[in-house]
Structure formats: C-alpha cells, structure tokens
Symmetry: D2
Subunit: 332 residues, 4 copies
C-alpha cells in the first residue's frame, strides 16, 4: 500500500488537498494516479458533485396473477407512511426514500431505496427489505414470498438499473486541464487524449458489448481504495460501470468521470480494522458528526482519485510503448 497525492479537490463536501491510500499489486497504479493528482494541483482542481445517495434491495414476491400484482403496485402508495415507519424502526439511519416496481408475468419485483447514513448499508437495506416484505405479505394476503433479494437490486453484479435508478452514490468529477499542462505533464495533447478516449472508451467498449460503462480502468482505482479503507471490494463490479466524458474546450482539455452507483461506507464491517481506521482518518472521513457526511466525503475522494488514475492511463496509452515500459520499470 502506498499513499499518493495530494489531490486538489473542490466540492460541496470537501475543499482541500487530499492524499489517497492505494492498496494494489499493480504497482504502476501509484505513479499513474500520482501523476493525475499532480495535474489537479497544477490546475483549479477537481470539481466533484454528488447527485444522489441511497441503498437499494429488490424484494421478489409472487401474485396469483399479473392483475393482482398490478393492484399492489397501484395501491402501495397508500401505505407509504406505514412503510416509512417500519423501515425507520430498524435503524436510526435508515430512511425510506422510495420504491420502484416491475411486474413480470405474475411476479412482482419491488426495489426499495433507503438512506443509510455513513454505512454502505448492505445489512440495513436487507433489514428494511425484510420489514417491507413482512408488511406487504400482511397487507396483500395473496402475495407469496419468493426472495428477499430478486437481483433487480442489484448487488455486485452488472446491470443497467443501478445507473438509471441509482444505488449507492452518484458522483461526477471534472477538471479543466490547460493545453500546456497537458503537454508537459501528461506528455500528450488534449486533442490526442480526447481522440483516444472516444475510440477506446466509447467505441471500443461499445464493440465489446459493454453496458453503461465507458472507461479504461476505473476498477483498478476503486479496488485499491476499497482495499485500503475496509470496503467490501466486491462492489467494484457495479461501481466500475462508470463513464468518461472528455472534450476540447478552446485549446484545453475538459475531462470528467461519472460514477453513478458507487457503494462506500465509513462505518461497518472492515472499517474497524486498524489499517482501515488509519486510512479513513488520513482521508478525514471520521470527523463529521452528521450521519452520511463522512461517507459522502469518501465518495468524493474516491471519484477524484478515479479521475486521476483514468486521465493518466489514457495519456500513457497515447504514446506507443509507454504503458509497457512503465509496467516493466515498476514491476521487475
């Protein structure tokens, strides 16, 4: 593990220079992310914003008919207060945000969304889903339990639903890199980098049959921070389904990363371990007393680091042989 940075971050959640711990076997990730961090310091910094924040689980129930399932969908709203109440009962931090239904034949998938404070919320949402299930089975006598999780959630699996409806935190980070800084420090031009991004991240992923994903290696950076901060790293599966958008602004490079569903927490399993506590402390993610603020701060930092790692790798790929050389230099 190594700490790289600092990254210059500007966001409603955080303003300042933050160094980021990265636990990885892919050692070129350190200088690569560090190079991105340097770019952030040479410019106005990385602006980051969180659009939404929730945890979800889809219960799976069976109705005697599609018509009965439709009735449940159409009348659930009348139980909102009760549902809100039973969700809140399980935890001080769990608050029912909303739900979303899909009927498939006579099957009913209800995707419940709650806020979970500073926890990533896997257990909190399962408890909430449990409570919602119990109540619905009481209210709608003909419904039958199939599963507390119907994969329309969806946890640690590829999907489109997480990006569209949200799961975890929806974060966007962006930076404006002056042409000269790009040329000197990323050793390529804004034009080349944008061109590569389009042909690799957008068109190449398209050809590969990717879904709601367009990036070079978000997964690497997510994994490294997740391991360093005690996260459940299996959440990189869906978390890495993020999108780069880059373009030329005047002569300069506009570069952004959008991660619409990353799951991070600052409390819960894994975070009580010494190294995790230390790293969360280093990141300043253990100080805020308002529930949810520490986790949001962490999400902002994670996303800014993803931007650093991504812009640096794309720059390296612009130059034939550079990727291979950096791997050979570092690893042997």
């Amino acid at each position: 593990m190594k700490t790289v940075g600092p990254i210059k971050i500007k966001s409603p959640e955080i303003e300042g220079d933050i160094s980021v711990p990265l636990a990885t076997f892919e050692t070129p990730l350190w200088p690569s992310t560090a190079r991105g961090a340097k770019i952030s310091r040479l410019t106005d910094g990385i602006y980051t914003v969180i659009l939404s924040d929730c945890m979800t689980r889809s219960i799976l129930l069976e109705a005697p008919s599609a018509q009965y399932a439709t009735e449940v969908v159409n009348t659930m709203e009348t139980h909102r207060n009760k549902l809100t109440e039973i969700v809140a009962k399980n935890s001080n931090y769990a608050h029912l945000e909303n739900w979303h239904c899909q009927v498939l034949g006579n099957l009913l998938y209800i995707r419940v969304a709650i806020t979970t404070g500073d926890a990533s919320g896997h257990n909190m949402i399962t408890q909430a889903a449990d409570a919602v299930t119990t109540m619905l089975l009481q209210q709608y006598k003909k419904l039958k339990y199939i599963s507390i999780s119907g994969n329309y959630c969806t946890d640690k699996k590829v999907s489109a639903v997480n990006g569209i409806l949200g799961r975890g935190k929806y974060v966007v980070a962006e930076i404006l890199v002056p042409k000269q800084i790009c040329e000197i420090h990323l050793k390529t031009t804004p034009t080349k980098l944008v061109d590569l991004h389009i042909k690799k991240n957008l068109l190449g992923t398209l050809l590969a049959g990717g879904v709601r994903t367009a990036n070079a290696h978000f997964a690497n950076i997510l994994l490294a921070i997740y391991l360093a901060t005690g996260q459940d790293a299996a959440n990189i599966v869906e978390g890495s389904q993020g999108i780069v958008h880059a373009e030329i602004r005047g002569e300069d490079l506009y570069f952004s990363v959008t991660l619409p569903n990353i799951i991070v927490g600052t409390i819960g399993n894994g975070k009580q371990l010494d190294f995790a506590k230390e790293n969360l402390n280093l990141l300043g993610c253990d100080k805020d007393l308002t529930p949810g603020k520490n986790a949001r701060r962490l999400a902002v930092i994670v996303t800014a680091a993803v931007l650093c790692g991504e812009i640096s790798l794309l720059a390296a790929l612009c130059n034939p042989g550079e990727l291979m050389r950096s791997h050979l230099d570092m690893e042997r």
Copy 2:
C-alpha cells in the same frame, strides 16, 4: 481470512478434497461456502471442466479507409507464422492462439489471444500486443497507431465479448444433489431452489439489464479467493459475469456454475507474497512443472468454490429471514 472446506472436486485437472482460503469482511461467506463444501462431500462431488484458456488484448489501429482496414483483416492470415514467432520471442510461455477483428468505420480493432502458462498474463499479452502492433505497422504502411488497448480486450470491464470469444479460463462446475441431502443440509427442496434461481438469477437479472450474467453472488467468492491467493482482484468485474444453470433431475437437484472468463495465475505480481505462497501451496497450485497446469488447477478450485457459495446462498434465500439472521449472528 479463513480456510473452509474441504470441497470434493473431480476434474481432469484435479481429483480430491481441497480446502479453500477465503479473505472477506462478509463473514457469513465462510459458513455459507463451508455448507456448500459439505454438500460436495456428501455427494459424488463437484465435476469441473475447462473449455478454453487464453489471454487477450485488442490493439486499436486506424486505417485511411474502411476498405483498407478490410484488406488488413483479409490478409493478416498470410503473416500468421511471423506473428506467432514475434509473440513467442517475448516469453517462453506466450503462444499466439488466434486473433479476431472488428472494423468500425476506418478503425480496426484486433483482439489478439495468446496462452500464458501459469501467469494470468496481463503483462505478457501487452508485450505480445506491442509486438503485433509494431509488425502490423511495418507491414501495412498506412495504418496508424491509436492504442495498445482498444477496450475490445476487455480487461476489468463489463462486456459480452469475453464470454463469447473467451478471455482467461472458461470453466464449468456441476453437481448432482440428492433430494434428501438438499432437504437436510440446505434446508430447502430442489424444486424451491430451482424455482428461486429462475426467478432471481435469470428473470431478476434480466429485468436489471444485466449482460451475460445470472448469479446471486459469484463476485463475493471470487473476491475472497483472489485476495487470499494474490490475484489482481479487479478481474472480478468481468470474472463474475457467470451463469447458473440448475434443474430438477428426477427428484434431485442438478446445479451448475459456468464462468466463461475468469483470470487467475499462480505466478506473477502478488503471488510471491508470503500469504499468497502459503495459500497457493495449501491448494496444491505450486507443484506441477508443466506450464499452465497450476493455474488451471487454481481455476478449477475457484469455480468449485463459487458453486459452493452460490448453492448455499440460494438455499438460504428460499427461507424467509435466514439471510438476515445469518448476517446478524455472524457480524454482531
């Protein structure tokens, strides 16, 4: 980290009872996978087979026109010997298997596939791609380098191409669980378990917009073994895009997991660390002198463990409240 098992495995690569180290914060994963392992011992065991084995990277070149790109595609075969030779030059273990092309406008994506012995092969394939690129740029003067990786590879990202064309090892594991063993040890019936699998893994994932994925939590088990054996765990992103197929056979339960593109190695970055060496030794993945055999053995074990974890979780989900209880019992 905990070692669970042993799992009873039968395959061309391995026959015997193997205990598996799992590094995870999600502690219920241990008893859950252990329960699956127990089932394997109470039956004929888990039959496992490897269909294919390669590592890939897609270089990205630009032609002056689609017609020129098409000519390259149509004439590359004439350079096969030369290409095989230059790939072999970089490593004793790298052998060119094949390539696959896509033309998009005037862009040319060439997905090169090689074998990589016991290494997962990330660096080996990059070197091979580098060599292929250099040679093609010499042969076809009008081609222009765009990227050594064009995301049609595709590494650590969601795709359909990896499952269809192969990347890493394509492994299938299957088990036949007699009805009584299912009822006593998985506490549910074959019928209920198959029914849940269809409604959750198949239909639920379908609704979620998943691509070539249908499972409950392959990612969890992959992550736990990958961390324990020094793998690059970011490869769980594509590796977890696997599929369960289960059905009733007579009264019994047929259950299988298919992982068409898992990336594992027994040498290379991470594997030289003490804990990794120890765990690879425990798994017997450091003994075979034939290149590739150790990694294949590891792939077989990983897949058998995935089956254990998957069948156990699905069984738990059949019973309302069981998932929540096991989490509460273990974690608090």
Copy 3:
C-alpha cells in the same frame, strides 16, 4: 394479410373474442398464431393488464459544469406547474407525467414523459420536449441546447431504460393451459415447453448478450400487426424487447408475456389509410370516445396476439423437425 383467431381476451380494457389481422411474408405465422388463439378459446382465455402508459423523449442540454447541471436537476421541481402548462398547450391530449434526469460530466439528459391519448405520440412528445427545452433555456441561462433528442428517450433503438422507466404501454398477458389441452393442441407437455423456454429464451438469450429480452419471436407478431394497422413498424425494435415467464402450475402450463414498452396508436400517420382504418375497425379500436382507450385496447390485443404466436412457436420447437416442416409446407 390474413386475419386469424379469434383470441379470447379478458382485461379491464376488453372482454371478448377478437380476430387479429397479420401482415407478413412469413406465412407459417398465420397457422401458428391461430393455434395459440385456439388455445385461448379452449381455456379461460388470455388475461391482460396494462401497468403504465406514456411517451418519452430525452432532451440533451449542456451546463457549464456538473455542479450547475445538478442544480438544474435539484430545482426543476419548482417549475412543475409551468412545465405542465406548456406541455398541455401543444395538444389537448398531451399531459406531462414526469421527468427523469441523468448527469454525465456537464451534460444533462432530461427524459420527459407525457400521456398522448390515442396517438402513439412521436410528434406530440417532440413538441412537448421542444417546449420544455425552450422554457429551461429561459430559466437556466447558462444551459446550452445540444439536441431535442439525446437517445436516452429512446426511440426505435435497443435500450434498458425503456423497460425500466417505461415508454409506450407496459402490458402483461397470461394464460393457464390445462395439461391435456397442451398435449392435444400444442402437441407437447407443459414440462417440455417450460423446459425449452428456460433453455432457449432465458439461457440462450443470456449467452447471446441480449438485454432485457427473452423470447422466441415477439418481433414477428408485432411486425405483422403493426403493418396491418398502420403503425410505425420501426418501433418493433424496442417493442420486441419483452420477456416470457412460464412455469408449471400443478400439472398445467402457466404462460405469460410481458411487453414493458410497446408503442401503438389508433390515430396519426398511417392510421388514416383504408386498410388500417378497416383493420382498426375490425379490432374495435375506433369506437371509444375517451382519449387513450382505443390505443389501450389495441395494446391489449397486440399483447394477447404475441402470446398466441409465442406459445405456438415454442411448442413447435419442442418437436424435432416441426418448425422446418411447417415452413416447407406453407411456403413452397
């Protein structure tokens, strides 16, 4: 063109026996769908229900920053009344239902959903999107127009968003076929048909990299009715992204089709042609004076016909050679 049926339909929109005109070059579609219709008459009929009904278009605007885009998302609600008003101004039938936003870097995609009476609503939604765009550009001075359609709509293209958020009509049709009727008239058993459905529609499509689709040939039946009733048949692209769910109930066959986003209308381009008017009249889709009722009736009929065609083809595939023979018999 041939009219097949009648199909026995039960739904809130319609109860009765309806014959359906099918325009197709694939002539086996006629006896095949007719066989499904016969099944409906020999049983309680096909129960059909509509879950939702809207038309959508996503405008695409550019903000100076992700933060500005986020502000728009967070404050649009304050303009709901005004937005509702300007949408209503363009048509008596256009009513603003809701909107859904995605921020990607500094880009803002706003997917507007309206009801459109009996029209499929392509033009109505474009006008509505036009009006919403104009208003937003006035309210948020720093937004810039990029496109009246940003493909997050999404019209006549494969997507996951249409099924998740809705576009057109979300219709489910289901039938219970007694074992004996299945055996005599579909010439296969419920067990075989369900088994085939799982291995072909679910697992086969999964392998093919399909997204939110699991059926044998919804597209054929949609096309045939769309051509017969003057629909814009290009909407079969997204409309055919539907899902079969079938299972054994006791000894009998439960069979359902879910089409979460079919686009049909009974007025507008194409419907004024003689053959279309005649066919819409035959279907009873020109009689109701309540706006939207005729189109909903048509959607119900379309979905019931899709069920008839689907169940019949799946049954044919259960018997080796039957598909080929029926094609040879019919077409030569």
Copy 4:
C-alpha cells in the same frame, strides 16, 4: 412509397448512382434521406465495403454432463467434411462456413454459420441446422435434442453475438464531406455534427443501456427499404444495432456507418411480389448471375441509404426546432 436519390456509391460490388425506394409513414424520411443522397453526389460519394457474409442458427443440445459437452466441442472438428457435405445437400447455395460453441452447465449451444447465396437464408439455415443436429445426435449418442434454435443464433432479437461473430452481412459505409458542403447543404458545421453524434449517439445510448448500438435512426431507413423490397422487416431489430463513427478531418467531416449484421436477400419470400420485383429491378439487384452478388449489392445500397438518412437527421438535430418543423411541414 417514394424513390429518393440517386445516391453516389463506390464499392467493390457497385459503382454508380442509385435511387432508393423508401416505404414509410414517416414522410420526413424522404426529404431527409434525399438530402443525404445529395451530399453524396456533391462529394466523392459513399465508399462501402462488405467484411463478411453468412447466416447462422444455434442448435441447442443437452449432454449428460459438462464434460461430455466439452468432448463434443473438442471433437466436432473431426467431422468437418461430413458436416460440410450434409449442409450442402440441402441446397446448391448452402455452404458450411464455420461453427461456434458455448457450453452452459451441461447444455451445448452450437451456432452454425453458412453462406446462402442471394437468399436471406432463414429457411436454408434452419434446414442446415436440422441436418447438423441429426448428424450430431447420431455421432454423439448421449446428446439429446432440445431445440433447433437456441436463441444464440440470434434471429430478430437484440444481442451482442451477432455483431461479434457476424450474422447476415457486415457492411461499412463512409463519406468525406467538405466543410463548405456541410455548411451549405446540411446547414451545420462538421464540428457541431460530430459533437452532437458523440453526445447523443455514443453517450446518450450508453446511458440508455443500449448494447452494440449507437445511432439516431438506422431502424427507420432499414424498415423503409425492407418494406419496399420484400424483406422480412422483423430483421430490423438486430439489423439496426449499428454504429456511427464520425470525426473531423482537417476541417471536413468524416462520417461512417457500420452495420455488422444486416439480413437482406433478393430471392425468397416476399421478393416475388410485383412491387418488390420492380424495386429490386430498379436497384439493379436482379441482374447478376453469380449467387450472392445481387444480395451483396442490395446490402451495399441499404447501408449507403442508412448513411444518407443518418447524416441528415443528425444535421437537422443540430438546429433547434428543425426536426419539429420538418415533421409539421410534411405531415400536416
């Protein structure tokens, strides 16, 4: 129906100016495609190339175990001559090209690819698949028939496999539009058009959860020509999964469309009707005596027309209100 053009086409299959019949209710499609055709005549024309050409169907067989299925996969090659022979027996035009296998648990999907001369080949491939199935069931006694079509084909359904492995004709068309011609006739700049394409076709479709698709309205143009020439128009479902690639070259606009799996034929069902014969004659698709040449010529024309319609709509979308105005002008 209206004939628009002529389109200036250059390809190995055809060189000349071709007018194209379009059958559509969306009347603005006529002037829109005509505008694209005009652009082709004002420039060097539309260069078009065919990369591959085949028809596929995936049979679905069941083995007693994954290991047995794997053995079949590994030994099928030894029967290549026999397989080639039995496929050829059914038709003078059917020639076995190759096959591709997927094993899922104990299920075996074999995707057979053949050439089909001038026919789109739906029936020819079903006959071929039938023959292959019969032979495999004889050779491998433990295999069991499940379905002549396992949806890994995949016909008239969304997939990734068709684009990756090919189905129908893989065609690319490209054009270079000088800046001035773009500005005068498309009423927008190359820069704006490329920018829109990226934000709408690439990023917007990505957000929508599209798979291997990135275009504005390929489906419209495909449908119009398919209806005019007696094609099975349900094949627009997969055929419209195509990709635009556009960029600035100097000051000019490079614009291309890639349709990796369109299904067209010049003989077979539908083509014998008077209007179809007339239109195929008009297109010169009934003259070549070499099997396959007429269908290839048609594929080239279809793709060039798709380019015309696509470039024109994208240009229109660059100007606020233009799309709506053209629809209002044409349709009312």
